[in-house]
């Protein structure tokens, strides 16, 4: 059935030559890159993120652990899921005493799904970068920081290095060389905590994904 369907569909599509689109006027026009300096990128990113109730915290390489500690304390977290093997995760693990119980994604989800779904308060992940125009985090989950970390726990704390803040999605795809590198199993853009407007077009936050998104913006030089 499958192959017959395939052959028939392709045959029908090839029966007529469709009109060629008028020369792709506009297609090559780059409408999506801006000449924004670092301060402007940060300003726009923050404005967009805060408009959808994400929290933004500024930090640098020396004090970001303090900022994270404060966030954990303010939210009364009992535990924090993270990878002990990323640069950031190693630094957190080295000072584990300052944080709520640190949990690791030690085995495939099937082995600890119940705890992941009902027992984890928050997850900490790194990001591949950000997008200033729309206030967006770029995540390429992997074996260290799997897909459900930024999805299932009620709080997602993400660390974004300011130098990886691109102007637009198009610029990020190009500058990070997505096509050349090849896409991962799952690439994600995350722009705020989960939300819905399905009842009376009224925004409600925390539907199926995280109820809270916390972004720690880390400056390479003191802000």
């Amino acid at each position: 059935m499958n192959n017959v369907a395939r052959t028939n569909i392709l045959q029908r599509l090839r029966k007529e030559t469709p009109p060629q689109p008028s020369p792709c006027q506009g297609k090559e026009q780059d409408v999506s890159s801006f000449d924004w300096d670092r301060a402007e990128r940060i300003r726009r990113f923050t404005e967009r993120m805060e408009a959808v109730r994400a929290e933004i915290h500024h930090a640098d390489h020396r004090d970001w652990l303090d900022v994270l500690t404060e966030i954990c304390h303010a939210k009364g977290l009992n535990n924090l899921l993270l990878s002990p093997n990323t640069t950031w995760g190693q630094a957190i693990s080295a000072q584990a005493g300052r944080f709520p119980t640190l949990r690791h994604y030690e085995q495939p989800i099937d082995g600890w799904k119940e705890e992941m779904f009902y027992g984890i308060d928050a997850a900490f992940t790194s990001t591949l970068g950000g997008i200033a125009e729309t206030g967006t985090l770029i995540l390429w989950p992997d074996a260290e920081e799997p897909r459900t970390m930024s999805l299932v726990p009620p709080v997602h704390i993400a660390l974004l290095e300011v130098d990886k803040l691109h102007t637009t999605f198009a610029a990020a795809v190009q500058e990070q060389g997505w096509v050349e590198k090849g896409l991962p199993t799952n690439a994600l853009l995350v722009s705020g905590p989960s939300k819905s407007a399905d009842i009376e077009q009224t925004l409600a936050y925390g539907v199926h994904g995280p109820k809270e998104l916390v972004v720690i913006l880390v400056f390479s030089h003191p802000a």
Binding site: K27, G135, P146, L188, S196, H208
Partner: protein
């Protein structure tokens, strides 16, 4: 005899609450879209770009579908082809059966609505649960979506409160939208946890990289495509684009046109099942490519534009007819302006041709369409095909032709090309205007009958000294 469509319209026009819900929601959506495009020149530039991207993809559709299939297969995703919705349903069922799966959790998918998948699976003992908040509400109410982006737009918070109270008596009655949303979160979390198979639609499929893209706000799409062991995506064959670089502009104009958001909370790009060493994600991913009349639409150079659609719903948000009669009046999966051109082409003008009349041809739909589908032109084209016997690829061509109407137009056409007869006729009508009927069926129920002038236009022009030319 009154048609089913007209009967629906009469019923829905008589529901003031539903009409108020639509009016309020559509006004809000129009304003939010407008706020996203403060610069008209920029809007036209990105519409041109989006149109070009979709037109380019359609011009190479068979090649891009083959490339997409090859890429996805390389990436480890199984690709299936279905000519009809029956075949698509069978493919989904066979995947479920292979895994002995009895539960499915669904992200929002209009193609699965097109397939009637939920009912089909139910008949085979499989529980398919909608997880998008709007779709979840509708499944509880046993109703179809009334809007392609905001499916439960016709319901008020009171309607939802009563429904939840009726179906989940353990949860305290509330009309608070945050509390209703949290109740849905709690109920569905258990379902995400236990569902064996997840199903989703596809907003864009990228041939270059073999990537399935999903646009959403709630996270239910990510849950459905990440947590269950098997993910099945269903899509129409027209959703493919050539390159990854085509995606950013399309995503931007889609979310801005649809709900007036600069971007949705999640943009989910799936390129493979779980790889060795990875700790979550489905072990198997399937894509079902559905034709269901699309390849037939494709064969006509003008109607082909219908397939550029990126399903933003802006045309319905701006349609004066849709806003008044509501999405359920249409009786089809896709309502509003895009629905009235798409559904008759898929099911035939003999089945849904009447829907082409659900338009004032005000042009708003064509003006807001992010990929510039000339919807009013296509409505006219389909109205024409409905009453003509000329050859056309649209099924049901000529089925709406009536002898009386054809005769009326033929005699008008004949008189209009015979000036003496035409002048005699219009003069006679002007002179006899006093005896014309004051009651003209439905028109005069709520309006005064039109009055003819006492002199014809030709006579007046002659008086003014303009020669007949």
């Amino acid at each position: 005899m009154i048609s089913e469509f007209r009967q629906h319209v009469i019923e829905n026009l008589a529901k003031p609450n539903v009409r108020a819900n639509f009016r309020k929601a559509m006004d809000g959506l129009m304003q939010r879209r407008l706020d996203q495009f403060p610069d008209p020149a920029e809007l036209e530039r990105i519409r041109t770009q989006a149109q070009a991207i979709r037109a380019n993809a359609l011009s190479k559709l068979p090649e891009l579908l083959e490339q997409l299939e090859a890429k996805l297969t390389d990436n480890g995703i199984h690709v299936h082809w279905a000519e009809t919705t029956e075949q698509a349903n069978q493919i989904v069922l066979s995947i479920m059966q292979k895994h002995n799966a009895k539960t499915m959790i669904k992200g929002k998918s209009m193609v699965s609505e097109e397939m009637g998948l939920n009912h089909f699976l139910e008949a085979h003992g499989i529980d398919a649960l909608e997880s998008d908040l709007g779709e979840f509400i509708l499944q509880l109410a046993h109703e179809p979506p009334s809007h392609i982006v905001a499916p439960a737009i016709h319901k008020s918070r009171q309607d939802v409160a009563k429904l939840f109270n009726d179906k989940f008596p353990d949860i305290p009655y509330t009309e608070n939208i945050d509390e209703l949303t949290q109740a849905a979160r709690t109920i569905l979390r258990d379902k995400f946890y236990s569902a064996e198979v997840g199903l989703s639609g596809v907003n864009f499929a990228v041939a270059e990289t073999g990537t399935l893209c999903l646009v959403e706000n709630e996270g239910n799409g990510r849950m459905s495509t990440t947590v269950p062991r098997v993910h099945i995506a269903v899509t129409g064959i027209e959703k493919v684009v050539e390159k990854l670089s085509d995606i950013p502009p399309l995503l931007s104009i889609l979310t801005r046109s649809a709900t007036g958001q600069p971007i949705t909370t999640y943009f989910n790009m799936i390129s493979s099942p779980r790889k060795p060493g990875e700790k979550d994600g489905p072990e198997e991913v399937h894509l079902v490519l559905l034709d269901n009349g699309r390849s037939n639409i494709y064969s006509d150079p003008e109607l082909l534009a219908t397939l550029r659609c990126i399903r933003c719903g802006a045309c319905m948000n701006h349609c004066p007819v849709y806003t008044r009669i509501g999405g359920h009046s249409y009786g089809t999966v896709y309502p509003g302006p895009i629905g009235i051109i798409l559904e008759p082409q898929k099911a035939g003008l003999d089945v849904h041709g009447e829907l082409t009349q659900a338009s004032t041809l005000c042009g708003a739909c064509g003006e807001v369409c992010p990929v510039r589908i000339p919807i009013p032109t296509l409505i006219n084209r389909l109205r024409y095909e409905g009453v003509r016997k000329d050859a056309s690829t649209t099924p049901g061509t000529g089925s709406r032709r009536t002898t009386a109407e054809a005769a009326a137009w033929k005699s008008w056409s004949w008189s209009a090309s015979h000036p003496a007869i035409y002048n005699f006729g219009t003069k006679a009508a002007a002179r006899l205007r006093g005896v014309l009927p004051m009651q003209m069926s439905a028109w005069t129920n709520v309006r005064s009958a039109p009055q003819l002038a006492d002199k014809t236009l030709h006579e007046r022009m002659k008086e003014m000294g303009v020669a007949d030319e």
